[in-house]
Homo-oligomer: 429 residues x 2
């Protein structure tokens, strides 16, 4: 099926700022609550939130096989489970409805009042109910940096890293949408030199991790695998993802079973899922891999995407300082390889599952995706606009992530993934 | 509120075998599908499955604040979210309804036909929809054995182990109820000595892990913690749990982020959740801990439970050989400590979350909870009844776990947690 929604020449009758992340070629999906307290699935065009529940009730999706309440839900899980053909039909139809050449909805003022809101009039919620959240570790630069800092610079990459898209399970319950503040976590930390007693208190090394995450559909039955050629059919789209990390808690707890409380206190995602279809024009060559991938990890075609990433820090009352610029294409392991690997043992993947990329660090120092790497574990603090410096994230700092793709014809963006760090709650025993 | 359901002198008008795991003092909760294809929440008394949905519709829970459809659901999550007071009211009422002194339901033949089934007439489903599954690593003997086998016998326990209830996140999607067969997984394994190329194929070191898991209720908001004194209020009950493990896949993948595909191909739980209330008579002293626990991990009172555990292996067409006898009381870290630790950083816990104990190995060689430990990584194969031996689990073997508590007055059991290993599906590229 042709993805007509991607037509770069299409213009909308809605007014859209020139550099908007959300032109009519994007058509992402999200969940919001309207000023009238109605929770619905929607899309975004420019700075307008479009209520897909209302659009469907008013008959604008006629001819597309959809249940009546498919958009009147508090998560996209069921819609995603309908499969790629349905996503494409709906996205193409939305593009058509808001096309400047289309006089349908454009001239129905009463309908427009029910369907179109400004972004200020709605509150974004989590777009999916995440059943399982997996985090990969797919940037070679990041794995090398962390291995150098935490283990052995001479053997920074573990022997398995170049053969396996290393991943681990994360916590679903603490995934929150952009904008919800994050509480600085308490935890145990390594004993100081010469002591046998661990420390305890609010984390002193609170960090962000610049990631993206893809959202899957129902993909396979338990015991079956997804061949790598079929993986992209099962990827609905992507979000920006800040995998908050408490480095001191993580360093003390993570051996031998991996990160736990150093990660699961909060994970922030951007609220709009940008579909893999919308990212189609931004495919780029896959990274060259050191070893020939095993057959189950090998596939033809461009499976990497050129998505520009940025992180800024904004202190309370101050202005934002951009501290990192990276790109999703720096991932050594592609999403296709990750999903093929995840299911090669028969592990089942469901609609709404989320798979994080791992921190996306590039080759240069200003492209590293965490404070740990940017400041080299605090050795080289970063100067902010207001003259203060940061080794890690301070209380009341806001971390702002952005992502977009751009070519000569169109810009497809993700909006922002924002989180403000609140001071730890005083601990009483 | 008095837990009158635990009265050891109570007898039921239902006929119950003397050594049943499910006397009228147990009253566990589960979900089943009846011969008429109705999915409902139920309990078990002797070999009878009791339809709580029907019981409620016929008015037997009058006076207890319950929504009309609370038992007509495919998971216990909402009922569990109602909280401990409601669980106790319902359990006490069920004990009363089936008490031999009570002439109500006992004499209502038409009602009994709608409410009471034999276990053969129903099929057990998963009792909860598991939002997040965490696995701990709480047996000192197991952690010591694994550390000795995989790392360094002189430093078998990691430095953090005696200070932290080490845990990690597992996969929810592949949790299955007892009886569903398990497919031998494929995966990458370590290169053989002298090679740089990993192997690939069906796991050759497929293992069980003898665990129990507790199910939580909605417990805390993100950012808040559960003080250790309050933890047991948030534990609904326990199940038996086989944390299937592919040792060769696990050994190659687990550094540095922990187990992944070596575990997430299947996790089998017993279908009846035995409430913490029912286990009340079986509290025993907590294990002596090497270091004084930190204040947030310290609590008065008996938080360990004396639950006898057993594992058997039954080859295709053969009889079962018991290969291990262990006990839940061998856990070094209690459930109270695990839940307090899990939330000390503000991680939120929801109704239906599952927390595994980790493999429960005791002090003696016949009490180890995995083949890895029982055969000491294959060095000492186990002889089965039929004359064959096992280093790990063979295709078509069935692994059977059992658990029960017993004192002079009553026996409270969990039934069985069973899984048969099917051969790997041939892999085509």
């Amino acid at each position: 099926m042709k993805i007509t929604a991607n037509n770069p020449n299409r213009k909308s009758w809605l007014s859209i700022a020139e550099n908007s992340d959300f032109p009519i070629q994007n058509i992402p999906f999200g969940v919001f609550i309207t000023k009238d307290d109605i929770i619905t699935i929607g899309t975004r065009i420019g700075d307008f939130a479009i209520d897909l529940g209302a659009l469907h009730q008013l008959g604008y999706f006629e001819g597309i096989p959809l249940t009546d309440d498919i958009f009147l839900q508090d998560s996209l899980n069921d819609f995603i489970a309908d499969g790629r053909k349905t996503w494409r039909l709906v996205r193409n139809r939305i593009a058509d409805i808001f096309d400047i050449e289309n006089n349908g909805l454009q001239q129905q003022t009463a309908h427009k009042d029910k369907i179109i809101f400004t972004m200020e009039e709605v509150e974004m919620l989590l777009p999916v109910s995440v059943g399982d959240y997996t985090d990969f570790y797919a940037s070679k630069e990041h794995a090398t940096n962390v291995g150098t800092l935490f283990r052995d610079p001479k053997n920074a990459l573990m022997p398995n890293w170049l053969h396996i898209p290393i991943g681990y399970h994360g916590r679903s319950s603490s995934i929150i949408p952009s904008g919800i503040p994050v509480r600085r976590p308490y935890g145990q930390v390594k004993p100081v030199e010469g002591s046998n007693t661990p420390g305890f208190g609010p984390s002193r090394l609170l960090d962000f991790e610049l990631e993206m995450a893809f959202i899957t559909t129902d993909s396979n039955n338990l015991g079956e695998r997804i061949p790598i050629e079929e993986t992209e059919e099962h990827i609905f789209g992507l979000v920006l993802f800040n995998d908050w990390s408490a480095r001191d808690i993580q360093a003390w707890e993570y051996q031998p079973l991996g990160p736990f409380l150093g990660k699961n206190f909060a994970s922030t995602i951007s609220p709009w899922i940008v579909t893999l279809d919308a990212l189609e024009p931004f495919r780029v060559d896959n990274p060259k891999q050191v070893y020939e991938p095993m057959p189950y990890l090998k596939v033809d075609g461009k499976k990497s995407y050129d998505i520009k990433l940025q992180v800024g820090i904004q202190p309370e009352g101050g202005t934002e300082t951009v501290v990192a610029n990276s790109n999703f294409k720096y991932m050594y392991w592609t999403m296709a390889q990750q999903l093929a690997h995840h299911t090669v043992n028969g592990c089942n993947v469901r609609s709404g599952d989320m798979m994080g990329s791992g921190t996306i660090s590039g080759p240069t120092k200003d492209s590293f995706g965490s404070m740990l790497e940017l400041t080299w574990r605090g050795q080289n603090p970063i100067a902010l606009n207001d003259g203060s410096t940061r080794k890690f994230i301070n209380d009341n700092d806001t971390v702002i992530m952005r992502a977009h793709c751009e070519n000569d014809e169109v810009r497809i963006g993700f909006g922002e993934c924002i989180g403000k760090v609140l001071p730890a709650i005083p601990f009483k025993e």
